[in-house]
Each structure stands twice: as structure tokens, then as C-alpha cells.
């Protein structure tokens, strides 16, 4: 609970600091707040506190909270001068991101459906504004509107689903619902089934899984890159944690029922994400579509539920988060300098900016899943999990998709090193360097020695 309180207090403090024009204090204040909440999270390890049956800070919640807070810290480090050119009032950006993070912590720790809904809404409303925060930018406005409409739509599905489940079981409590399923295994109320499917649809909207992914590319492209980075890493991780908490825990007894539709979603998601990413000319859109395909890999852990499912998601999400943060950081630098974010803008980057190019190379290799990077371990765990149940065809299909992935991730590397381009020197502020280097270290360390994270949860 003190994690959420710290984050919210920080958010308010930052807002006031903004009112009193203490611009210099904003970032340090935020970082201190986040570090304190991270410390709270770490010290709460193994304590398993339950808050009034509404939230539970178990290791699962703490692990995902820590990951999302750490991701947010990295993203904040990238904010240097980023928002200043759009607006005088930067404090609102900080506050909104922090509020979204507060919602995220609720999303990963709920034990009651109402808290799931509240968490998602706190996060989403903040994101609707953040996506459209460039008032004078048409694409940003479009992104915001699209995101809001689709978000509202998906919330409707989610709420309807929750209602049906409530109708069947008479409770919002995950524990009670789970008990109901175990107790009435043969005679689950017919209301329950459509409820599960509707909740699944609602959550699939949020994590951007196909065929509910249509908002993703436009919103990702239209929103400011830094917000996109936040959405595609921290928000997505939270969405998966929420998904996992509900389906791997509470709905697990009905696995046979919801697994086939989920499997179909996984296949479509992988296919659409990868194939459309292949045809993108724009780096940011490629990242958006590839994030759809990563949602597909992450859902693998739900197709076959094992004791390791949660941890596998954790590893994959960590790998994906840090690699994506590198990708977006470099994207921001490149766009600031060249004004474009298509693949050609990366031409010849390797020569003049070896550090940046190397970091982006490692990020791409990790996203593609090359051994000795964290991305490989993540993918490997997913494949292992699915193959354990001998769904070899699914793994073979995923492998073919991974192959497509190699192709489009390599395009950036090809552009940076093998193509001649305008020899631009990127202005890389110290904070960017810190984020890049730390992310690279984490990516390689988790790839070479993943033991520390493998049995965390």
C-alpha cells in the first residue's frame, strides 16, 4: 500500500512544484519518489500483505510493481527537455505518468474485480490525456481520440464481463470466484462463460492482442515517442500481469474452456503482428506492430498454465521492457536530429555514434531473440512452456514467426551499419547514456546469467 501512497504523494508534490514554477525540482522529485516506492517494494518481498481482501502484495505483485517502477524511472530519465518544447507546464506530464503508474500497481496486485477495473481506469484515463498531450499536433489528437474511443469500448466489454461473472458467483472477490469454480466444477452457471470471454476480450484490447489491436499502431505513432515507450513497455507489462492474475489464478479451473479461443488469439496475434511489422517503412510503426507480436509470445504462458507461467511472463516482460526502452530512446535521439523516424534516418548511424548504435543493435538482437541476450531466455522459456504440453505445432508456428521477426529487426542494424547515410552526430545527453548503458547491461546480464530472475515469483 505504501508503494501506491508514495507514488500518489509524489504525483501531487510534483503538481504543486509545477504550480510554483520549480521546474528544476520536477525530475529529481519524481525520481526520489519512485526510488522510495521501489525501495518499499523491495523490502516488502515475501511479506504477502493482504489489504482488506481488495489487494494483495504477494511476490507476484511486488515483482511486477518493481519492474514497472524501474521501467518508469528509466523513461523519466529520458524526459530531459523532451516535453519542454511542447509546453510551459511540464509538471502535468509527470503527474499523469505517475498517476498511471499508481493505477498499474493496483492492476498487478488486485484480488477483487472492482480493483481491477479501478486500476485499469486510473491508468487508462491518464494515458488518454498523455497520448493527446501535444495539443497542436494533429496525429497526437487523433491518437488520443482513437485511444479514448477504443479504450472506452474495451472497458465496456470488461465491465460487462465482470458483471456476468458477478451474476454467476455473487462476488467480486477473486478468491470467492475461484472457490465457486472449484466447488461447482461440473455445473458452472451459464452466465459465467460469456463473462470470461468478455473479460478476455476487454483485456486483449488493453494489451493490444489481435484481432483487437487496431488502435495500437495509430496510437503508438501519434503519441509522443516517450509516451509510446511508456505505453508499450510499462503499460503492456501491467496488462499482462493483470491478465495473468485473473486467468492463471482465478479462472484456472476453466482452462479447458478458455484455452482454445486464447490459442486462436495467440496465433492471429503472432501472425498479424509479425507480417505487418515486416512491411513498415517507419521505425516507430514497426515497433508498434512488433509489440503486437510480443503480446502473442507473452500469451503463450497462458495457453499452457504451469507453475512457471507467471515467472516466464516476468522474464519476458523484463527482457522486452529494457530492449524497447533502448529502441525508443534511440528513436527519440534520431528524430530530434533528423526530424524523421523512418528506417532511412538510421542510415550510417554506426559510424558516428558507436555507443548508440551498439546499444540499439543489442536491443534489436534481444527483441529478435538471439542467444546471450535477455530476449532469447524469454522466448526460450515461452517455447519450453508450450512444448511441455506437446503443442509442437504452436511452437513451430511461433518459430516461423520469430524468423520473420529477425528480418525486420535486422533492417535497423542494416541501416545503421551497412548503409551510407548523412553522417549525423546525435546529441546524447548524459541521462540518455546512463539509460542506454544500464539497459544494455541488464539485457546482457539476464541473457548470460538469468538464474537470479528465473525462480523469482
Amino acid at each position: 500500500m505504501n508503494i501506491i501512497i508514495t507514488i500518489v504523494v509524489t504525483a501531487l508534490a510534483v503538481l504543486y512544484a509545477g504550480l510554483f514554477k520549480a521546474k528544476k525540482a520536477l525530475l529529481p522529485l519524481t525520481l526520489v519518489g519512485l526510488l522510495i516506492s521501489l525501495a518499499f517494494a523491495v523490502t516488502a518481498w515475501n511479506s504477502n500483505t493482504v489489504y482488506y481482501g481488495m489487494m494483495e502484495m504477494d511476490n507476484f505483485a511486488i515483482a511486477f510493481s518493481s519492474l514497472t517502477i524501474l521501467g518508469t524511472i528509466f523513461i523519466f530519465l529520458l524526459t530531459q527537455n523532451y516535453f519542454a518544447k511542447d509546453s510551459e507546464n511540464v509538471a502535468e506530464y509527470y503527474t499523469l505518468i505517475l498517476f498511471a503508474l499508481a493505477g498499474i500497481v493496483i492492476m498487478v496486485s488486485y484480488t477483487n474485480m472492482s480493483m481491477l477495473f479501478i486500476g485499469i481506469e486510473i491508468m487508462s484515463v491518464a494515458l488518454y490525456i498523455l497520448a493527446g498531450i501535444r495539443k497542436n499536433n494533429f496525429a497526437s489528437n487523433e491518437a488520443s481520440l482513437k485511444y479514448f474511443l477504443m479504450g472506452a469500448f474495451s472497458t465496456g466489454f470488461l465491465l460487462f464481463g465482470i458483471t456476468l461473472v458477478y451474476g454467476a458467483t455473487g462476488s467480486f472477490s477473486l478468491h470467492a470466484i475461484n472457490q465457486y469454480l472449484i466447488g461447482n466444477y461440473q455445473a458452472v452457471s451459464p452466465l459465467f462463460y460469456p463473462g470470461v470471454i468478455l473479460i478476455m476480450v476487454g483485456l486483449c484490447f488493453k494489451i493490444g492482442a489481435a484481432p483487437f489491436h487496431f488502435w495500437t499502431p495509430d496510437v503508438y505513432e501519434g503519441a509522443p515517442s516517450l509516451i509510446t515507450a511508456f505505453m508499450s513497455t510499462v503499460v503492456k507489462t501491467a496488462g499482462f500481469a493483470a491478465f495473468l492474475r485473473l486467468f492463471a489464478g482465478t479462472f484456472a479451473p476453466l482452462h479447458d474452456f478458455w484455452m482454445p479461443p486464447l490459442m486462436a488469439i495467440v496465433c492471429i496475434t503472432l501472425f498479424i503482428g509479425n507480417v505487418t511489422a515486416l512491411f513498415q517503412k517507419n521505425f516507430k510503426r514497426m515497433l508498434a506492430y512488433s509489440s503486437i507480436s510480443h503480446a502473442g509470445y507473452l500469451l503463450f504462458s497462458l495457453v499452457t498454465l504451469t507453475a512457471n507461467s507467471a515467472n516466464n511472463v516476468m522474464v519476458y516482460a523484463a527482457a522486452y521492457t529494457f530492449a524497447s526502452i533502448i529502441a525508443f530512446a534511440v528513436l527519440i535521439l534520431v528524430k530530434q536530429k533528423t526530424g524523421h523516424d523512418n528506417f532511412e534516418s538510421f542510415n550510417g548511424l554506426g559510424k558516428r555514434n558507436p555507443l548508440v548504435a551498439l546499444a540499439l543493435t543489442i536491443a534489436m538482437l534481444s527483441l529478435a531473440g538471439i542467444p546471450l541476450t535477455a530476449g532469447f531466455i524469454g522466448k526460450y522459456l515461452m517455447f519450453l512452456n508450450v512444448m511441455n504440453e506437446y503443442q509442437i505445432y504452436l511452437v513451430a508456428f511461433a518459430i516461423l514467426n520469430a524468423l520473420v521477426g529477425f528480418y525486420y529487426y535486422l533492417r535497423v542494424i542494416v541501416a545503421m551499419y551497412f548503409k551510407e547515410g548523412a553522417e549525423v552526430v546525435l546529441e546524447t545527453p548524459v541521462q540518455y547514456k546512463v539509460v542506454l548503458i544500464l539497459s544494455v547491461i541488464i539485457t546482457i546480464f539476464l541473457g548470460v546469467y538469468p538464474t537470479i530472475i528465473l525462480n523469482l515469483i
Binding site: 542467444p371 529477425f406 538464474t451
Partner: protein, 488 residues
Amino acid sequence: MEQLLILLIFLPVVGALVTAFTGNAAKHVALVFAVASLALTAVVAGQFIPDASTQFVVNLPWIQDLGIHFHAGIDGISLITVLLTNVLVPIIILASYQHNYKSPAGFFALILFMQAGLLVVFTAMDAFLFYIGWEAALIPIYFICAIWGGKDRIKVNMKFFVYTIAGSLFMLLGIIYLYLQNPAHNFDIQAFYQLHLDPVQQGWIFWSFFIAFAIKMPIFPFHTWQPDTYTEAPAAGTMLLSGIMLKMGIYGVIRWLLPIVPAGVEEWGNTAIILSIIGIVYASLIAFRQKDAKRLIAYSSIAHVGLISAGIFALNTQGMQGAMIQMLSHGVNVIGLFFVLDIIFSRVKTNTIAELGGIAKSAPKLAIAFLIIVLGTVALPGTNGFIGEFLLLIGIYQYNIWAVVFAGLTVIFGAVYMFRLYQNIMLGKTNELTLGFADIKGTEQIVLVIICALIIVLGVYPKPILHLSEASVQQLLEQVNQKLTSVK
């Protein structure tokens, strides 16, 4: 003892890291590390006892939760490939001395990184480690070819990369499957050997591994990436690919495919031999028609490798021993050939056969070296190529007489196109291009002397090498046969 192997594997990694920061002196630093590795290999070979056991074993827990160990060791078969790698890498680095590559530090660091990956592949006793090494060898060569290659390098390398990574992924599928079948849930090679899979499972595993290996070698019809990549890669890249990297596929077949799924090999080995033989004939025929010398060598390499793979799938001692020595010989010869072509290209900026001729007149030393290498390639008795091809043909003969009739064509065809190549480049009239052709000197001369010496020494006295691997090969075949009878 185990420190020795760790040192052997990680010395190139250290070398790569040091080389990466040395700027223009990179080539010297890289050479020092490569020679140090070679010296270390000599120590290993000296201490090696040529029985069937695995020596210098390192077995450290790595990712224990997933049953992954850093488990490596050297037996006779490994030793041959380790020798191959550590003898050829310094030669390749020395052969690159004459080039002024842009950003040399990166270039030479990548070569050493690749060496480490190859050494992991050739010594791994843990399937996961093997896979990591397999991929770790691929990434550096991809960058070497794509950064320092010819003008079509981007497209060609994309094809190369996607092909090889596709193979690797299917192999990963097979490895995960075997891991799940293994009750101990680890990747230990001995545990994999002891698995009892039914013939259907073995068939699937066979293909998942075979495709990966066949792409690397390459065997027909998985070869289409190879001629383009060889042509576009920088000289050192081509040498690494043809001299060492394709042996990863051969080694994989021997070490992983045969003992793990003998029933799969029994069922599909015929297909593999037929594909290899088709490859031999087909690649030889195409080699005849090549206008570019580099492409000609590329196709001839497909033919030679086809013979090796047919010899392995014949599943007898002669075939297998032939493959062992031919791995070494082919590596030395093909590097020699590509180096000569590189020397020619650096002087006259062309490898088109029709534009060359008469080089022997102005460059007699080069002509002699080239002749020795060509003789080795066409397997003249007394050269290294002869021993290997002879044993391979005996092995294939024992398997099937018709197979050897067609496989033997490689020797005849090889002689024809190689001598024609030599004739058209070295003999005949000089033209404007080749008139003032400067003869070899300095490092070029050193490299060619070493290569020619290896060709002759291996040809005249191959026994020590054959002796190194003999016991291990015998044991491996016994193991395969035993497992086959137990399945029936």
C-alpha cells in the same frame, strides 16, 4: 586440466575485447592472440591421450534452474575440429594483413569472437551450450560479411542470415523436445545419447537437426545462399565461412545427429546420401559454367562437402575417418584457394576468369603455390586431399556401389574444372591486366608457404591426425550400432 579448456575457449574472447580497443594496431594484437590460442591448442594436443575418452572436461553449473551446464570436453573428434579452427584462424588473420579494412579493430575483434563461438560448438557437451555457440559464431560472421563485403552484400547477407537462423531455430525445437524427453531435465549429451525414442520421434528429430546442419554445410537443396555469400563476403569472411564454419554442420552430424537418433539416420540417411550426391554432381556441373573464379570455388566447395556428408552417412569407420581428415584438408585447401584469388583480385580488381591469364610468367612463386593448392584440391596422391577422398570413397563404396560411382564423379569433375581454372588464370598469354603482375611477398608469402606445407605434410604423413580421432570414431559407431540393435 579443466582450466586448460576454459582458457582455450575464453582466450579468443579476451583477445576480441582487447582487439576492439586497439585501433589501427588491431591486426597485430589479433594475430598475437590467435597464435597464443594455437600454442595452447598445441599444448592440449600434446597432453591428449588418443583413446575414446573425453578429456579436459569442464562441467560447471550455469543456469541450473533450466538444467543448463557449462559442460565441455575434448575427444578425438573434437580435437580435430579444434585444431582446424585454431590453425586456420591465425592463417586467416595473417592473410588479411594486406588489406586496409576500414575500422580494423571491429573487424579483427569479430573474427576472434567467432573463433570463441566455434570452439564452444566443437567442445560443447551440453546441447544448450552447443546452441549458444552455434548462434554466437553466426552473429560475428554476419557482421563481417555485411559490413566489409561487396556491393550486393546487404541483400545477400540477409538471405544468408535468414537461412541459417531458420535452421538454428528448427534445431532449437529439436533440442527442447529432447530436453523434455529426458527425465533428468538437463541438456547433457550423454543423457541425450541414452534416450529411447521411437522411430517416428527419431524421424522428426532427425529432420529438425539435419536441416540446421544441411544449411550450414551446405547440402543440396539448402545451398542457395552459399555461392552469393561467398562471392560478396570479404576475403577473410569467405575463408571463415568455407574453411571453418561449414565444418560446424559436419561436426553437428557426427556429434549430435548420429548418436542421438540412429533409427532416424537409418530411415532418412539414404535421403541424406542421395541429396549429398545430387549436390556433388549438380555443383560440379555448375562449377564448369562459372565465369567468376570465386563462384567456381564456392560451387566446388559444395561438391567437396557433399562427399564428406555422404561418407559420414555411410556409417562406417573409413567414411567417418575420411570425413575427419577431409575436414582439415578441405579447410586448408579452400582457404588457400580463396587467398590466391584474393591476391589476384587485390592486384587486378577482377576474378573473372576470361579476363585473366599468363600470371605464372610474371608471378612464378604465386603460380607454384597455387599449383600445390590445386593439386591438393583435386586430391593428387601425396597431397592432403587424397587421403580424405580416398577414405571417403571407400566408405561410400561399402555402403553402396552405385553411390560411389556418382560420388566419385567429384574427383573427375574436380580435376577438370580446377585444372581449367588454373590454366586460364595462370598459363597462356598475358594481357594488359596481368602484364605487370607483382609476385607475392611478405605476409602473402608466409601464408602461402604455411598452407602449402600443411598440404604436403598432411598428404605424406596423415597418420598422427588419423590416429587422434580413430578411437573416438570407433566408439561412436559402436554406440550407434548398439542403439540401433536395441531399438529393434
